[in-house]
Symmetry: C6
Subunit: 76 residues, 6 copies
Amino acid sequence: MADTWLPTLITNTPQEGFELAITLSRRGVKYTQPDVNVLKSLRPEYANSADSLTAASHVIAINFQTVAAANGYWRK
Amino acid sequence: MADTWLPTLITNTPQEGFELAITLSRRGVKYTQPDVNVLKSLRPEYANSADSLTAASHVIAINFQTVAAANGYWRK
Amino acid sequence: MADTWLPTLITNTPQEGFELAITLSRRGVKYTQPDVNVLKSLRPEYANSADSLTAASHVIAINFQTVAAANGYWRK
Amino acid sequence: MADTWLPTLITNTPQEGFELAITLSRRGVKYTQPDVNVLKSLRPEYANSADSLTAASHVIAINFQTVAAANGYWRK
Amino acid sequence: MADTWLPTLITNTPQEGFELAITLSRRGVKYTQPDVNVLKSLRPEYANSADSLTAASHVIAINFQTVAAANGYWRK
Amino acid sequence: MADTWLPTLITNTPQEGFELAITLSRRGVKYTQPDVNVLKSLRPEYANSADSLTAASHVIAINFQTVAAANGYWRK
């Protein structure tokens, strides 16, 4: 992937940081399966499964740990 | 999601921090599947499965690590 | 849940900290499924499955990381 | 459990720390299923499954993070 | 593996760090199954499964935590 | 296990650290199932399964976090 999609881990707010964690989670999928059509075809599989949604939230939680630490937890 | 749902990671007590961790876990699901009706329809699937409940508790535990660190573990 | 069940993460000993980690893990389940009767009915499902017990120990391990860090690992 | 099984997280060597991580992982199981006979009966289920053994090693790895941090990674 | 594939964890940008996390994740697989032909034959199995892709993204997220910490989160 | 297999977490390079993480992951399995013949018999089960290989890489990633932190991320 030649484009720049991650110039920094710094965000203005915790919520933007959480959204960046979602981006990181999706990019982890996309690097492994770059075909957008395949990804779209898989969406019903996980978007309608409680366990798959929990697994997605799990990955987001891990990436949010990283983003939150990078931002000093937006303490100030 | 245009609304502000995460203005800060700081909470007054560990228990409020744990409840924020639950919010984060649910938001991770909701960003992936925003349709509230689908989410409601999936509830019986995981709320009556021991393994699904353990998986939910797992995600909460990870988010609680983040919130607890942000709050300096409420040491004072 | 209106009651106060988590006033602090500080414990006197590592063992009490481990037991607090178990409480946190169980609360993560209980917030998701508050019906005690359902929880009781699910017990045979996980208490007799090696993989479910490993998953339970996994969540405890993550919560113990949090509690141990909060207590400075009880080093003194 | 009334007995004291975890007086400290400090160990003399990394290897003893790894073995303490195993103890923590097993205790996480035992708090959830205290019946030793049940635990013994489950052993063939996980001790002969590659995925179950990987899951066991996973929990040990998480507990080892905690023990290693407690010991300052035995750097000196 | 005699070749040097990991001389440093330091990268110039977060995005390069994320790509290094992908490399680490793949190497973890390759050390366990060094046969490239087997790895290729398994690709359809996980590249077309939502849950497998989420699991891959999960491992990347964990390795990215390590790389990000190593780089001080590229804060400057 | 009476032999000394983990005298230190310090390694000269990140790559040696990654290989130590693999050793830790395997030892976690071996402590749970010490019978080498059983372990060998299980190899085809996980070495030819994409999900099992991802799970193996997952455990390595967690142990690598520990080893990397122990070594100050080999920053100098």
